[in-house]
Amino acid sequence: MTCRRAAALITRELDDPLWAWQRAGLRFHTLVCGDCRRFRAQVGAVDEAAAGLLARPAGFGPAALSDGTRDHLKGIIRDELGRGG
């Protein structure tokens, strides 16, 4: 198994269980390949951190509705409430 192939299985494993033969192949490869062992730990940590970041919007810095949009949205809500919902 090449490192390129191992890397593909390592990221796929984050989404779906591998087939038994893929798991066995990957286990053997990472046993003998320190680079891919390291990649596996790192990319897993990155994935987890990114998932955590996406679960909380604050991580992406400040952003606010423009005044125009704010007024527009308020108008929509006012109209909708005025119609009695």
């Binding site: 990649f39 990114a50 606010a64 704010r70 308020k74 929509i76």
Partner: protein, 202 residues
């Protein structure tokens, strides 16, 4: 002022002021496109208005609105990914460049941290770098990656939802993760390939 008892905890007239920016940030972090973010916030508010009589008061107003927005964001991402996922995955010169022709790492994964990398991940500065790396992903890869984590479903279910073959989605997610990993390697951990470290430390 009288309101139906079921809607006692909701006050739509204050939604924009009380939650508008929060909802917008929530949407923007996921769809990344300011116009699309405003659009999904508007859709979510309209859907919330239409459903307000069913609000049971089991959650706060904000988390109720956020849950509705989350569904609208997922719809938007699914539509965006659906448009791209049917195309046959093209070769990706960037990802190919990480490996030698014989399939070995061209730049070997370096040592990120002597201690548990998980601890590193809690720092605010790290999160900022990570957000920057997410934003550097090509749009289609970012959308696939965000959808994958937003739905919290196995990739197989995401495939079905976007009409992609599993292979296509895996390829997109794989490329997204390779890029995120490489971006953090360079911008946070410092590009310190294992192969170079053997020569001695300083």
């Amino acid at each position: 002022m009288t309101r139906p008892a079921t809607a006692a905890a909701l006050d739509p007239a204050t939604w924009v002021d009380a939650h508008g920016d929060y909802l917008y940030r929530f949407a923007l972090a996921r769809v990344r496109d300011p116009d699309a973010a405003e659009e999904v916030v508007q859709e979510a508010l309209l859907a919330a208005l239409a459903a307000r009589h069913r609000f049971a008061g089991r959650s706060s107003e904000r988390s109720w609105l956020t849950a509705i927005l989350n569904r609208k964001v997922a719809d938007w991402l699914r539509a965006a990914v659906r448009r791209r996922a049917r195309e046959r995955a093209k070769s990706d010169r960037w990802a190919d460049g990480l490996f030698t022709p014989s399939g070995k790492w061209k730049v070997r994964p370096g040592d990120w941290s002597a201690d548990d990398p998980g601890r590193e991940m809690t720092r605010a500065a790290f999160r900022q770098t990570l957000a920057g790396c997410l934003d550097k992903l090509p749009a289609r890869l970012r959308q696939a990656f965000v959808l994958r984590h937003l739905d919290e479903q196995p990739a197989g279910a995401v495939c079905q939802a976007v009409g992609a073959t599993p292979t296509n989605l895996w390829v997109m997610l794989h490329r997204a993760r390779l890029r995120l990993w490489r971006c953090l390697t360079i911008n946070w951990f410092g590009d310190d390939p294992a192969g170079r470290r053997g020569g001695g430390e300083r």
